[in-house]
């Protein structure tokens, strides 16, 4: 069974982003870029399935600028067998990415598609669900455990107040939550090996997909600042302040 995993190149999670002075976007020039952490979990899960003998081939896919090739090399260093970049300088929004992935799903016919639940840049949390809709496949979002047997996936997912377990027929789309696994560290020998793995580059036109944005960003601002309050010397003062000044207890 082939497993297709989508990965996104985003501003590294340790970077404190700044809004550009012209308020058009956040400043991503000369900022460290990395694989979206949830996508790293998605790749790790696919690799574990292959190690357990449940998957035969892992294809990593990314949609975006040329530099996404670095992200795909990382995916292959973790254990993906080959990679596809759909290269575009356009602002690729989730619906467009889902359409590109749908075209690749049609072409590659994977038994399972795993994505991160959301990207930490636009925080949309849409692409997996949209891909499932377009490909008319069952979906399980926010997965914390995946088990495969008899052409079905049994998946636990995190919901408000606890967790639930769903069973879906394969092929299916699963999106990874934080606690699905802990991704391995990439080792130097694997980085070297990844450089030799095949990486195919396509354009959206090759897949016949229109990636015109549907949502226009008018401006990007800094969030309102919350200023620090006061330090209180002891518990008694804290209780008094909460009762008489803040009036919240």
């Amino acid at each position: 069974m082939k497993v297709l995993v989508a990965v996104k190149r985003v501003v590294d999670y340790n970077v404190k982003v700044r809004v550009k002075s012209d308020n058009t976007d956040v400043d991503t020039a000369n900022v460290k870029m990395s694989m979206n952490p949830f996508d790293e979990i998605a790749i790790e899960e696919a690799v574990r399935l292959k190690e357990k003998g449940m998957a035969t081939e892992i294809i990593a896919v990314s949609c975006g600028v040329t530099q996404c090739q670095e992200t795909l090399r990382t995916a292959m260093a973790i254990g993906a067998d080959r990679a596809i970049l759909v290269e575009s300088n356009e602002d690729l929004q989730p619906l467009a990415v889902a359409k590109l992935l749908k075209a690749l799903v049609d072409k590659e016919q994977p038994g399972l598609i795993i994505l991160g639940k959301q990207a930490i840049d636009d925080d949309c949390n849409q692409t997996g669900q949209m891909l499932a809709a377009l490909a008319d496949l069952p979906q399980v979002t926010f997965a914390s455990k995946i088990e495969l047997a008899d052409g079905k996936a049994t998946v636990s997912r995190e919901i408000d107040g606890g967790s639930e377990t769903l069973q879906v027929t394969l092929p299916a789309v699963v999106t990874a939550d934080l606690r699905l696994n802990e991704p391995r560290y990439v080792t130097l020998p694997n980085i070297m090996k990844a450089k030799k793995k095949p990486l195919e580059v396509l354009k959206p036109e090759d897949l016949g997909v229109d990636v015109t944005p549907r949502i226009k960003t008018l401006k990007v601002n800094e969030p309102p600042k919350r200023s620090a309050g006061i330090k209180v010397p002891d518990v008694a003062t804290l209780v008094a302040k909460l009762k008489t000044e803040a009036k919240v207890i």
């Binding site: 925080d123 809709a133 377990t165 008018l218 401006k219």
Partner: protein, 311 residues
């Protein structure tokens, strides 16, 4: 122009996030309808009819809708969508699961997690874990949106049902997904995203036992919900669904008490809209103090029991 709010419910009761979503819907302009799709969910539909500002409740009852499966709900919503200018979902685990599937079926973009309605097609939403606020305009004819509950007040409930309830027949569904079961933590505490007071514990608690021993009496005394930082959850001190932060729950209670939480960006993104923030931490340099209204620099194992006694 009419907005359809997809109610979040457990068939018996409406989830509070639905009320905040209705408020966002009224700000989009035009009439507001609410869809209650479930199984034996007449009580939830009746509750929806009591929400102030709602003109009509659509009620679909079918066994396939008992567990809110995304595939099945999407089919019902898409069948109704042509009559609406806006489809609004709460930005909860359930809403985030279904809304993008609906948007893609309608071939429209989705605007996630709006925190403000500027006009019928323009909205504000946080990006980069709340470190920037984007103002975005939808270019599609139907706007599919998820609503961040903390950005909008809850709509009021009126005693008499003010909206008509209309029964709608369900559409046949493919059935590729089977619900096997769920584990919902049972407790009498208020739900994290709806609580007026939240007490949250961090890694400084040191163990699951200490977490419970210190945080539970404080929560009991204040009638508060219990939250936790990602560090505390990852260390196994608290359950996953208690996590407050960008990758967990976004909360904005009247009072947020952070106990032994240093205040990583990802945690602050989940609670910085709280009305009053209290931080108890022994590290004077902890970033949490930069957003706290009242900071107490103290050993939490001494300060919290003292606080419980003083309340």
């Amino acid at each position: 122009m009419t907005t359809l709010v997809i109610a979040e419910h457990d068939n018996a009761t409406l989830k509070p996030a639905t009320l905040n979503t209705v408020t966002a819907a009224t700000q989009c302009g035009g009439d507001v309808h609410v869809l209650v799709a479930g199984h034996n969910a007449a009580a939830a539909a009746a509750a929806a009819a009591q929400i102030s500002g709602v003109a009509k409740v659509l009620h679909i009852d079918a066994e396939s809708l008992a567990h809110g499966l995304a595939e099945n709900l999407t089919t019902q919503i898409v069948a109704l969508a042509s009559g609406y200018s806006h489809l609004l979902f709460a930005a909860t685990a359930a809403g985030k699961n279904v809304a993008p599937r609906v948007a893609a079926k309608l071939d429209v973009g989705q605007i996630s997690d709006i925190s403000k309605v500027i006009s019928a097609d323009t909205f504000e939403r946080p990006i980069y874990a709340g470190n920037a606020i984007a103002t975005v305009q939808s270019l599609d004819s139907i706007k599919v949106i998820t609503v961040r509950g903390t950005g909008f007040d809850a709509a009021a409930l009126v005693n008499q049902g003010n909206a008509a309830i209309e029964k709608v027949a369900d559409v046949a569904i493919p059935g590729t997904t089977t619900y096997l079961g769920s584990e919902i933590a049972k407790n009498d505490r208020p739900e994290l995203t709806a609580a007026k007071i939240i007490v949250s514990g961090g890694r400084a608690l040191g163990s699951q036992d200490k977490f419970n021993e210190v945080m539970t009496p404080l929560a009991d005394k204040l009638g508060a919900a219990i939250g936790a930082s990602r560090a505390a959850v990852d260390a196994g001190y608290a359950a996953n669904d208690l996590q407050v932060g960008q990758t967990g729950k976004i909360v904005a209670p009247q009072l947020y008490m952070a106990v032994g939480i240093s205040g990583a960006i990802q945690h602050l993104a989940g609670m910085k809209d709280s009305k009053v923030i209290v931080a108890i931490n022994k590290d004077p340099e902890a970033p949490i103090f930069s957003v706290a209204d009242y900071g107490l620099e103290a050993d939490l194992f001494v300060a919290v029991p003292e606080l419980v006694a003083a309340l």
